[in-house]
């Protein structure tokens, strides 16, 4: 089989596998997240936490719980890093510098997993496992919890209540993330991903040189890093490192893990609103956008335009031999279409067009299929904006799933949409305005600008991948990107919950002849169109200064 054919089969096989688990996993999540019963273990956990699992929260209380949990998480993670030298399994490493620790704590709590540090020489095993990996689980679980609370806004009527955050968090962690991660970790180990508590081991190489081989509880962390769309690598080279991603087939597994929950949640949504076809429409929008993007990235990488790529004869710079160009491009698409940000090849060395598509994936807001949970609520908000636009055209009060989209609702939705572009553009402009941050660029000219734009896009959208040449472990970038990550995560969550609260209070309106059907291909096309137009209008000028300028030269 030629490499291009193999690449196409690789993509198709992943899509088929995701389609096969869509229904069973979506249904499983529907059942566990909406159950009214609590088993013994769960009751024990609720007692330990000190909450009554049958009490309900209104949207503001739900949001406060999310924020309280994230604040405590942030503080604990910051503390663990700062006190690293006094803890077990620290590999003799020093405390993490304060600005790096702040950035990392913000990054992992916000499900971004941007890394301003190099894993193998900054973080000991205990911080990795007890701090970073825990946030991999819980920040993803927070995403699922918020998504479910958001959907409850459509499902419930004449109520203030959106569910109980602590119950949703517990269930998402223990009944969804933990079992799949455990299976994933064992499969990855079978492929060669390491799992031990060894210190780095010095060996004498074949030619008599010396090399220090690293260890660590990698497989357990790798599985949840991808499943929870986190992306923070155990090692600096992330999923390009053979100890994180050992073979061509572990690479397939890793991409599958990245996409599986986000692409199954629309089924959960369809079940919750009692109309499976609404879920199919949402997953169809995700599928259309994803396919466009995967095709564009792969084509750009295979075509390898650009001076160096043409001199080389392939887009092999920063790409591992065992994955090859096609499978690396697929990983890059998956990681930026979700909020993962793990990398198995280095985006800074992608063709200008390929790199631009990756940036565009994030700018679209990571909704195809998006981060765990955040992809679903992000896409539903785009659907709300779409019915609003459609309503304006025909002059009717728009409604979605029986709920009126009035002034209050559309204010929440449009503010939600505006948060990340504001952070990206203001952040990039600030960095470009000062000498210091400009010096962090690794490449001259338009490509250097792309590095900065990519960094702020990645942080504000909670992706975490990078055009890694940019020197980011400086005060400016650590603080600025940390703020972007936190605001880019929690402002949208508050706004989404606010919107849900306002929807839940309403009495549903019956379907009439004037209701826009939201489960037909027409609606799928409209949502995809509205999304692309909104993003193009917002980001085109910035893209023109970076990757487009570079590509046109």
């Amino acid at each position: 089989m030629g490499s291009t054919t193999a690449g196409v089969v690789f993509i198709v096989s992943l899509l088929v596998a995701l389609a096969l688990v869509h229904v069973p996993l979506g249904d499983h999540m529907y059942r566990v997240l909406n159950s009214t019963k609590h088993n013994k273990v769960e009751r024990g956990i609720y007692r330990a936490i000190g909450v009554d699992p049958d009490s309900e929260q209104k949207w503001s209380t739900y949001a406060k719980s999310v924020l309280a949990f994230s604040l405590i998480s942030f503080l604990l993670l910051y503390g663990l890093q700062r006190l690293q030298d006094k803890l077990l399994l620290n590999l003799g490493l020093d405390p993490v510098p304060d600005h790096v620790a702040w950035n990392t704590a913000a990054s992992f709590v916000a499900n971004t997993n941007w890394q301003a540090y190099s894993g193998e020489n900054t973080m000991g095993h205990l911080v990795q496992m007890g701090g970073l990996a825990v946030q991999n689980f819980v920040s993803a679980a927070v995403g699922i919890a918020v998504a479910i609370a958001f959907v409850r806004g459509f499902v419930r009527k004449r109520t203030q209540e959106l569910g109980n955050f602590w119950v949703d968090l517990t269930r998402a962690t223990f009944k969804i993330l933990l079992p799949i991660a455990a299976v994933g970790a064992i499969v990855l180990m079978a492929g060669g991903v390491v799992q031990n508590f060894a210190d780095p081991q010095a060996v004498t190489t074949v030619t008599g040189g010396s090399q220090t081989v690293t260890g660590g509880p990698v497989a357990s962390q790798e599985a949840i890093k991808l499943l929870g769309t986190n992306g923070g690598g155990f090692y600096n080279a992330n999923s390009a490192h053979p100890f994180e991603n050992a073979t061509g087939w572990t690479n397939w597994i890793e991409i599958f893990l990245i996409l599986v929950i986000a692409s199954s949640l629309p089924r959960t949504f369809g079940r919750m609103v009692g109309q499976k076809k609404q879920g199919y429409a949402i997953v169809a929008v995700m599928g259309v956008l994803a396919l466009l993007s995967i095709t564009a990235t792969t084509a750009a990488q295979v075509a390898h335009h650009g001076t160096v790529a043409e001199a080389v004869g392939a887009s092999m710079e920063g790409v591992e031999q065992r994955f090859g160009v096609e499978n690396s491009a697929m990983f890059a698409s998956a990681t930026t279409l979700t909020s993962t940000g793990a990398v198995n090849s280095f985006h800074d060395s992608y063709t200008s067009l390929g790199g631009a598509v990756l940036m565009l994936n994030m700018m679209v807001g990571e909704v195809a299929p998006g981060g765990v949970g955040s992809g679903l609520y992000g896409m539903l908000i785009l659907a709300v904006i779409t019915v609003f636009v459609a309503g304006l055209m025909v002059g009717r009060t728009p409604e979605y799933l029986g709920k009126k989209i009035g002034a209050r609702e559309i204010k929440f939705a449009s503010m939600y949409f505006l948060v990340t572009p504001a952070l990206v553009l203001i952040g990039t402009a600030t960095a470009m305005a000062f000498e210091g941050p400009r010096e962090g660029m690794n490449n001259p000219g338009a490509h250097g600008f792309s590095e900065v734009l990519y960094a702020f896009t990645s942080a504000s959208n909670n992706n975490g991948s990078a055009f890694a040449g940019l020197t980011v472990n400086t005060w400016f970038y650590d603080i600025a990107l940390g703020l972007c990550m936190l605001l880019g995560r929690f402002l949208p969550i508050i706004l989404a919950l606010g919107l849900a609260g306002s929807l839940a209070r309403q009495t549903p309106v019956p379907v009439s002849a004037g209701t826009l059907p939201t489960h037909r291909p027409q609606f799928v096309g409209m949502v995809a169109g509205v999304t692309l137009i909104l993003v193009a209008l917002t980001f085109f000028p910035a893209l023109a200064l970076g990757p487009l300028a570079e590509g046109i030269h």
Partner: protein, 304 residues
């Protein structure tokens, strides 16, 4: 608990929840996975896929290591691995990629005074294009094939001209007044004598030619260069243990000659150390350099 104010109750619940979750996800889960990793069949892999020679660990099957002499030149009896940006090269304690862009084509030339004194100029910077050209030349020479590549000069630097002159409406310089080959330091003779009727000059140290339009010149190198793509690029991790079968076949003749064995024996070994695509479509065919070289040492020791 209910006597506490609401905000404190929330934070207390948060703290307790986080502790419970840390115990399960941050301690129990990795420990259980580690225990599973101790099972026969998995333990070698979970430990790091170490490779032993004469009972001693010489590295990991999954971690690329260099096969160079004391001067950093390739040892001709060994297959070479891909170039690395991990620390000082192939350092698992500092894994990294180059992170250079595809239009990184202009060198910052070193100070000739320092070069003459045999010192390194810290401010000099080789562009990715020149790095690729130099590697192509080096590995072509090593295995006795043509090391030329598109956009490279015969001396192995990026063939890039700064075309200086008035710009037209689209930003192109169609009537240059001055043309400089930016990666060729004076007194080198530029790779082409003339461009659009203007004599091409060599680049003077410390001069900034950024005002001109940068024009890479393709030259007449073959579309498919003899030295494969993986040989002239750095890997993502900096510790890629594999090379392409094409590059392995290119190296086979040299390695066989150095060891005084027939080429087909070496080629057979390459086949044995090649991993194809899993299930026929996952990944790319790859040759494990470490295990291949160890097998060579065992069956055809170098008599140098």
């Amino acid at each position: 608990m209910n006597t506490l104010p609401g905000w404190l109750r929330q934070h207390l619940a948060a703290l307790r929840a986080l502790l419970v979750l840390t115990l399960v996800c941050g301690a129990a889960y990795p420990l259980v996975i580690t225990a599973v990793g101790r099972l026969p069949g998995l333990n070698g892999k979970a430990e790091g896929s170490y490779v032993e020679v004469d009972g001693k660990r010489v590295g990991s099957e999954l971690i690329g290591q260099p096969f160079l002499d004391g001067n950093g030149d390739p040892l001709k009896q060994y297959f070479q691995v891909r170039e690395s940006h991990a620390g000082d090269g192939w350092d698992p304690m500092a894994t990294a990629a180059s992170n250079r862009g595809m239009e990184d084509i202009v060198d910052i030339l070193p100070d000739p005074a320092l070069v003459a004194a045999g010192q390194e100029d810290e401010n000099a910077r080789e562009s990715l294009l020149t790095t690729v050209c130099a590697r192509s030349l080096k590995y072509g020479e090593l295995d006795g094939v043509d090391g030329s590549r598109p956009y490279c000069t015969d001396d192995g630097v990026g063939a890039v001209l700064s075309v200086i002159g008035p710009r037209d409406a689209t930003g192109t310089v169609s009537r240059p007044v001055k043309v400089v080959s930016v990666n060729e330091a004076c007194p080198a003779a530029p790779f082409i004598a003339e461009y659009r009727g203007v004599k091409v000059e060599c680049a003077a140290y410390g001069e900034d030619y950024g005002e001109g339009q940068m024009v890479p010149v393709r030259g007449d190198a073959p579309e498919r260069p003899a030295v494969p793509a993986d040989a002239v690029t750095a890997s993502g991790s900096g510790i890629d243990p594999h090379i392409s079968p094409q590059w392995a076949r290119l190296q086979a003749g040299r390695v066989a000659a150095a060891r005084g064995v027939p080429v087909d024996r070496v080629e057979r070994l390459i086949g044995e150390h090649t991993t194809g695509r899993a299930l026929g479509f996952m990944g790319a065919p790859a040759v494990n350099v470490l295990t291949l070289n160890i097998a060579l040492d065992e069956t055809a020791p170098f008599q140098g």
